[in-house]
Symmetry: C2
Subunit: 425 residues, 2 copies
């Protein structure tokens, strides 16, 4: 608990780390190249950013980023912690973001700078409600209790008409899926107008609900300009839907919060574009910091990639993301980790072994729709994989008594065995 805003950075600098850290703190509380009149010591004392801690790490021979000035030879890495008074910021989320990222990445005193983590002032919990649904609310809406939610994505990403989409949704709800989402490329295009798609899909979903009692959660991609997003939101509410999806980085924190604040739908947060902020090891930010901002915004479900994913990200990083998202903030504010990318169930044992949780939304695309026995077998195979994971069985062991999982293993098991030929530069 703190009454200040704290940020932890990984830095690399040719200067003395104390000196570079002081420049960073100065840039974020005064910020000009000469002292100006009016900048009294009393003001500085009250409003200056404070360097709270410096922990030296290794030193390297080459700068990680271009444009660094001063010093020579070695580049020292360190973790530093900086804090700001709440009085600088008030309850103003975008200005908080500017405070911790500011012009800092531009500073020539650093050859590397990465935001590792954030701690919000404890006052923030009075002002920000956080996820309205989160883990418990999503489970309640979807009616799934003691296992991960099994989800899938409408594919192909673009091109399907509303009736094509509804037909696919029919197949998926019949297969027993818990959750379906639009792709991030599919929002409100001419060939599938949002309102028509919602109407067609929700007819299927509501009909299924009437027959079975189960309301499959569909995260319609409401990403659009603001008035359109608000309209789309209302359309989903009026059609009896329970969720909506936003491309968080493309929409931005302010409009995303406006959407979350409505509080009638679970908000599925897609992090497309995230690699830009994360893939350079000495720039950008860690997911630990990123996810806290989005929990403050109020996102209920947040993408974390998946174990043995098809993308560049190592498993360790995915595990850290899931752990970060599950760690309580102000004692709660929990959002549901969305596991995806090349998942077909085969990754369930390792995912469970490393995270010890079933509070996940486990997304499989091809793993459901391309299952040799059809989508219903695909969904069954995913649940079998998770049962095995929790029971501590290997896939091979579980497959002996689970024919659908055995089929998945035969069909998709090869892809899972790809190992990265190279993970680090």
């Amino acid at each position: 608990m703190t009454d200040r805003l704290h940020a932890r950075y990984l830095v690399e600098t040719p200067l003395k780390v104390e000196d570079a850290a002081a420049v960073l703190a100065g840039e974020q509380s005064s910020g000009t190249f000469v002292a100006v009149p009016g900048e009294t010591d009393a003001l500085k004392q009250r409003f200056s950013a404070r360097v709270e801690q410096i922990e030296l790490l290794e030193s390297v021979g080459e700068p990680s980023l271009p444009g660094c000035r001063g010093g020579a030879g070695a580049f020292q890495r360190a973790e530093i912690e900086v804090s700001w008074s709440l009085e600088n910021i008030g309850f103003n989320l975008p200005t908080l973001i500017s405070t911790v990222q500011g012009n800092l990445y531009e500073l020539s005193q650093f050859s590397g700078l990465r935001l590792l983590d954030l701690e919000f002032p404890s006052e923030y919990q009075k002002h920000y409600q956080g996820p309205r649904f989160g883990v418990a609310g999503t489970r309640r809406l979807a009616g799934v209790v003691d296992r991960p939610l099994i989800g899938t994505i409408i594919k192909p990403s673009v091109g399907l008409s509303p009736s094509d989409t509804a037909a696919l949704v029919q197949t998926l709800v019949d297969a027993g899926i818990d959750f379906i989402k639009d792709d991030e490329l599919m929002a409100n295009p001419p060939h599938s107008p949002f309102d028509d798609r919602v109407a067609a899909v929700m007819r299927v979903v509501r009909d299924h609900q009437q027959r079975t009692g189960k309301l499959v959660m569909v995260a319609f991609n409401i990403t659009d300009e603001l008035d359109a997003m608000l309209r789309h939101y209302d359309t989903v509410v009026q059609a009896g839907g329970s969720a909506a999806m936003i491309s968080l980085n493309s929409v931005g924190p302010v409009a995303s919060k406006r959407i979350c604040d409505r509080g009638q739908l679970a908000i599925h947060g897609h992090r497309n574009g995230w690699g830009m902020l994360n893939r350079c090891p000495m720039l950008g930010m860690d997911f630990a910091a990123y996810q806290k901002i989005w929990r403050l915004v109020g996102v209920d479900q947040l993408h974390v990639n998946g174990i043995q994913n098809k993308f560049w990200e190592p498993d360790d990083s995915v595990v850290r993301s899931i752990e970060a998202l599950r760690r309580p903030m102000f004692g709660g504010y929990q959002a549901l980790p969305v596991v995806s990318s090349g998942q077909w169930g085969g990754q369930a044992p390792e995912t469970y072994r490393r995270t010890r949780t079933i509070d996940l939304l486990y997304m499989a695309g091809g793993g459901v729709l391309a299952h040799p026995g059809g989508p219903a077998s695909g969904v069954r195979a995913l649940n079998q994989a998770w049962d095995a994971a929790v029971a501590g069985l290997s896939l091979e062991e579980a497959a002996l008594g689970s024919p659908e999982l055995a089929q998945s293993l035969a069909a998709f098991g090869g892809a899972a065995k790809r190992t990265p030929s190279e993970r680090k530069p």
Copy 2:
């Protein structure tokens, strides 16, 4: 002119560039690891992203980013151009952003990927109005015709009360400044509530206008959550102000567009956080792409850093940014480049020599307020520096007949001679 959306990328890959480019295009139009039912050839033909061009560049021995898989030995760099049908996206700016940045930065087929430039479908000009004020409108509002606008930033960034701020603004308007902006760290904090600050500052500005006829443009930092931003906007309009500032990356494109769409104030776009997207040479994006998105949003004034700036960015990059921002989009949509960071006038000759334009908002902080002869001398010195620049004189030549510029040169000239000891890693 194009009826498709085009994006140009710098890529680095251990694979054949054609193969890697095909994966990129596939991810952005289908995006699963196995073929799924419903993905017909006709759909693919109509909606697939198209690789339009591949231009091979050098090959390097080490990957620029971690996590790349496949291939061995050399990493080929190339520029590739990809296009999408407008039918995929419609008029939906955040989804357009997701389309060009998508999960692309995550792809393990690449050891480097950077968005270089964008070309919007020509239909977009019917839907997006772009900057409402831009270069001509800002000039008109500020009453500045045949020279750059001279601006400054309220410093210290945080800590000043509304009456302190108003007193500083009094000094600045008396000094003859054209433009004043809040710092990005100063929005609506407890010690300087937005409404009080606007009231106090606009009293000074309006009084000055009544006496001199000149309405100094003040870009109040309205950055906040959405409803607060809209309220702040109205407060400025009602107080007779002409501009407002937003921290673009912290607010995001959707809420920023909502603000620009109101059309009553010139919008000053601050790019704090930009280094995160730009400083790693083989990740993120070039300013050429970034600024087009914000011109489509409707931002009137956009930060470009400055020649010989205090940050990491090389002059060549700053010059390219100014050129990109000045290049017409749909034959217009021009936004005013905001030159800042360590500027005191000394950089004017080089800025003009390399860009040949006076359509700039030239921002100096210490260069005005810390001028040895006082702020009025600081503003005069900045105008003298620009007169010299346009006349093709060196600072030293101009200083002979310009005592205020001579004082600046003596006071700040040392700082300008700092050269980066190292610009590239």
